[in-house]
Symmetry: C2
Subunit: 380 residues, 2 copies
């Protein structure tokens, strides 16, 4: 092992159109250059308060606890499962992709008995099956589903599930990692008890935080735990630090990421949440239309397709990895591949600043060009 310093950092410019991270909104990058405040500075309090207020609007979660964890989306997922269950609890999980399966794995690690309601990749989990499981397991403390399945581009009918579960004592948890900021949410109205997301997809900031929304009912459940929850993600300690203040120490907040989130939330409200989501729909449906015209197929079922993430089946005889690799090296465009266990696919994300029809065209033109060079028969 040499002990000398590494070469200066020199990353290549990329257009990030995979499943995330997306390119960071320039206003978020600019925010990260602002003077850093201490995390207990009185001036920071207004910033935290505004982040929470704006996040409530984007989540449409007027009640309960809303804040961004300093965490990955996966930690946001694990926090919900660990904080809202105790070993031996029954949990129902709907899974038809990688992240649904991850919910199952984490719930099992947390010591839960998991009722797995599983469908094939890209097939949405029907609410009827989930509700039947809930009827069969009235003691289930939690039901977890994936609103936007990042591994397949499948969109779950969450509003309908929430309405049907309204009077149930089973808490409802939703993975909104790929939907927050790109798909209209109504966490309060739908009765979602725990939602988690990330900052590096439709929100358009850098990877580094996991915005969560916890309902009053979920907080009551948390307060009634017989086994203490982990310290770092304890809802009450987080609330004292982020919301109640002043100067209750819990951890050191990631100030620059909070600045970045503040500015993208501000831009989201300036644009309008509805308008921002409509922009994601316009870009995504444009791309998906062109995919169909080119004779290719999407992994997600029609009617359950996320606009912001298009998982395209790699046509037979085409080496999907080679095509993606050439897109990156020749065009500087990143698209995702399939996650372990999934069928061969390309995942194209049009998120945050990249949710435009121009970017959709740029990615698809490049993809079709590379495919043609690889001998695939596609109609442009």
């Amino acid at each position: 092992m040499t002990t000398s310093a590494a070469a200066p950092l020199a990353p290549t410019e990329r257009l990030l159109c995979g499943p995330g991270p997306t390119n960071v909104d320039p206003i978020a990058l600019a925010a990260m250059q602002r003077p850093i405040l201490g995390h207990l500075d009185p001036e920071l309090q207004d910033i935290l308060t505004e982040v929470v207020r704006m996040l409530r609007i984007v989540y449409r979660a007027p009640d309960g606890l809303v804040l961004p964890l300093q965490a990955t989306g996966t930690s946001g997922m694990e926090t919900g499962l660990v904080n809202l269950t105790q070993p031996g609890d029954t949990v129902i999980v709907g899974a038809s992709g990688y992240f649904g399966r991850r919910l199952i794995e984490i719930a099992k690690r947390a010591g839960c008995d998991v009722v797995e309601v599983v469908e094939d990749w890209g097939v949405h989990v029907p609410n009827e099956r989930l509700l039947a499981a809930a009827e069969e397991h009235p003691d289930a403390v939690l039901m977890a589903v994936v609103h936007g399945e990042t591994s397949t581009g499948s969109l779950h009918p969450l509003a309908e599930l929430g309405a049907a579960m309204k009077d149930s004592s089973t808490l409802l948890m939703a993975d909104c990692v790929t939907t927050l900021g790109g798909t209209e949410l109504d966490i309060g109205g739908w009765g979602i008890d725990y939602a988690y997301s990330c900052t590096q997809k439709c929100v358009g900031s850098a990877p580094g935080m996991s915005p969560i929304a916890v309902s009053e009912a979920a907080i009551e459940r948390f307060d009634a735990r017989r086994i203490p929850a982990p310290f770092a993600f304890d809802f009450n300690l987080l609330k004292k630090y982020w919301v109640d203040r002043p100067t209750v120490y819990h951890h050191t907040a990631p100030i620059l990421h909070i600045y970045a989130l503040y500015e993208v939330l501000r831009a989201t409200l300036d644009e309008g949440v509805q308008e921002r989501c409509a922009r994601h729909v316009a870009a995504g449906t444009h791309l998906q239309e062109r995919v169909r015209v080119a004779g290719m197929r999407l992994i997600a079922e029609p009617g359950h397709q996320l606009p912001q993430l298009s998982a395209i089946r790699v046509p037979d005889g085409v080496d999907g990895k080679a095509v993606a690799s050439e897109l990156l090296s020749e065009h500087g465009i990143e698209v995702g591949g399939g996650l372990p266990g999934a069928p061969p696919m390309w995942r194209i994300g049009l998120m945050g600043p990249n949710a435009t029809t121009q970017t959709a065209d740029r990615v698809l033109d490049a993809l079709l060009g590379v495919m043609q060079r690889h001998g695939a028969a596609v109609s442009a």
Copy 2:
């Protein structure tokens, strides 16, 4: 609740000389403006590899697993306790400040039987007491101590403890939150099994990551768990993602923070780890000498004083909070106060880019000036 966007972000310029975060090194800020790569981009692999290689040098931890968690220092602490123990295990904790007490609390939350070896604020926990506890509890799976107690400025004689514990089956864990990058460490040589830190203190980057060093023995212990560890901070999953690669998905890494860490580590090696630590010593001892000359007292015992963090006892009759508040509002200088339970104090950190005698003079001049205005008798 108004639904309009917040005012544009406009934080005031501060000189951050509290216990952290420190002002971010300009090279770290510049790094965060570089083109963002996807977290599975082949180009990122070299960057991760170099971060790990450079981090090993600063920790002096050639073996085992070394990487930065996307986490707070507190999560780094909790990860060690949760991953290396199981409910019912006996754990010995040395505590003479807020973070030692936090180790006790988190170990209890994790279901451990905690042997508390406690001293008063600022009094270092003698190794003799810790070793006596180890002899009394040969079944203890872990001993945890705080190398640099951020709440008091006390430095633990860690090398000696490591040497004395060398043949013990009890793992040794150390809080290096305030020491990494400012105090010479020899994690491998001292036989530390789990060290954790943060990026926003002597490392000189932004708050957002928690660099850890895990020994081979600790990984063996982790592998032998009967109860699974949490998913997000599972050592083996992290190793596959950060080190083994390519393209094993686990979470989305905080790319811009990794860039920032890359550049400050590079600068550290360019400066020399020894030279960087000597700079922290020079700045801190200069400040501490002036504190003594001014007739004030430090909280930490002589001979166990961290250079980079000076906890100064607030003189009788002085309103410590009012002085700190005026330092912030009049001079734009942040110093820390005492954490809950601690005696009244100011905590002055000279860390990362702020570890210079010039900054020491600037802070102390301002402090003495404000104190005088508040009617305190101090000799300049």
